[in-house]
Symmetry: D2
Subunit: 149 residues, 4 copies
Amino acid sequence: MTTPPSLPLGLDEPVTPASIIEFISSTWPTFANSMTCRAVGEGSAEVSRLVEPHEIRPGRVISGPAQFAIADAAMWFAVIGVVGFSAVPAVTSELSIRFLRPGLGDELHSTARLDSVGAKTFVGSINVWTTDKSRPIAVAQGTYVLPAT
Amino acid sequence: MTTPPSLPLGLDEPVTPASIIEFISSTWPTFANSMTCRAVGEGSAEVSRLVEPHEIRPGRVISGPAQFAIADAAMWFAVIGVVGFSAVPAVTSELSIRFLRPGLGDELHSTARLDSVGAKTFVGSINVWTTDKSRPIAVAQGTYVLPAT
Amino acid sequence: MTTPPSLPLGLDEPVTPASIIEFISSTWPTFANSMTCRAVGEGSAEVSRLVEPHEIRPGRVISGPAQFAIADAAMWFAVIGVVGFSAVPAVTSELSIRFLRPGLGDELHSTARLDSVGAKTFVGSINVWTTDKSRPIAVAQGTYVLPAT
Amino acid sequence: MTTPPSLPLGLDEPVTPASIIEFISSTWPTFANSMTCRAVGEGSAEVSRLVEPHEIRPGRVISGPAQFAIADAAMWFAVIGVVGFSAVPAVTSELSIRFLRPGLGDELHSTARLDSVGAKTFVGSINVWTTDKSRPIAVAQGTYVLPAT
């Protein structure tokens, strides 16, 4: 008995931690395959990823761009969570990040929570941490926009 | 019987909603007298103020700088709350603000919560609202620093 | 012989340093009367204003919100300069500001220069200074949006 | 005839486009080997890098984190340019970025210019572009700090 090949997910599919990775993987596998989505929905999302060796600075500290990348992804997932897969083409319009303390290790986690949900514009606040969720290594705020249709 | 003149508050006085206004008023009354501190301590602060007529844009919308001003004050109070009155000379090093929806009326409220507390540097996240605390009209993040001694 | 009363400026009037103040004054005099526009057009604007006594912190340092206010105004004027007076209802969607050094005195100046001009969205970079244009006391970047029509 | 092995660069070596890459490569080759420094000194720096395939979104648009990464690098190089190689341990304390238009292709360029140079703190403004330096795809501002010694 064989597993039937999975059909591509449709735009109206429910957004779940598994389906969001599957959906994005279908067009951008190098991005989605490095991400684990732990929760999505109700205006927030939580994602994890392994840090690549080239993202570790001397001193074994996780680089700032690696932290930006996961913050940006968490925000993207939170937007998709409230809008559905039609929001996959949404893009960051601006994001500001503050680095609070050095982050060690090889795993990054991030939670984004939307502060406002408009027809086209989404503002959210984001935490990034390594081992202790209550001690973020970075905080960020930013804006996603849906492209004009 | 007369009320004795109040002595100036000392640097080691406990920071309370009343004492923080009294302390700042002693050197900057035009600022502090327009502010009401509703809560301060444990890494956060809540402040309210009346909007001045010149801070209302045509359309009766509260101007952006008025929202920035209360966000900046809430963050200042949160820093003083964790450090004590010796942090009154602290200054904003950077602050970014996002305006989420128009704010009407003549009263502004803001809550700041510190994301990190260092020896000299404090990062916090801030909400600004008018009538509904759960629907902020602006969100912000910023950094305060204590001047070098 | 008497001067005829000036007619209200129309939306298609040329934007000049004098006309921009006159136009905004017609609906928001408390704002515009405190501002001097020194240059506007070609994607940039320069404005000056006197600092009010309540905007001076102890130590005679100009407060952060006063600097934010003039940065926000310079950006607004730059947008009006490229679009015309139909852009007067434009609003700040986000602005981040960095305070570089203490600013003394009672006069503030600011130059904004647009980095991108879209149909509805405008991003710009802003300097704020007191006496030496080449030594800004603050730098900022931000986004203005035209309201949906 | 053989080339003698190059000695490691010292902290007091002059900072040039070649020496900055060589110096950083000695401890973080996976970072520096992907970067080309085109200019450094006098408070600014220009860097280029090839975009990796995993940094290209569907639609062939360069991802936001790839743009953040080069902006952050340009700023780092500008700081090293004014301080010398003793500033290599400097870290970003905060950075805000605005994405202006989609960027296509596989090469990114960035220029950072310092707005203020302090004993420990550096603020700068940054442009990112692909093919036309006068049409940035992103602008940013941020702060670097030297670690306490």
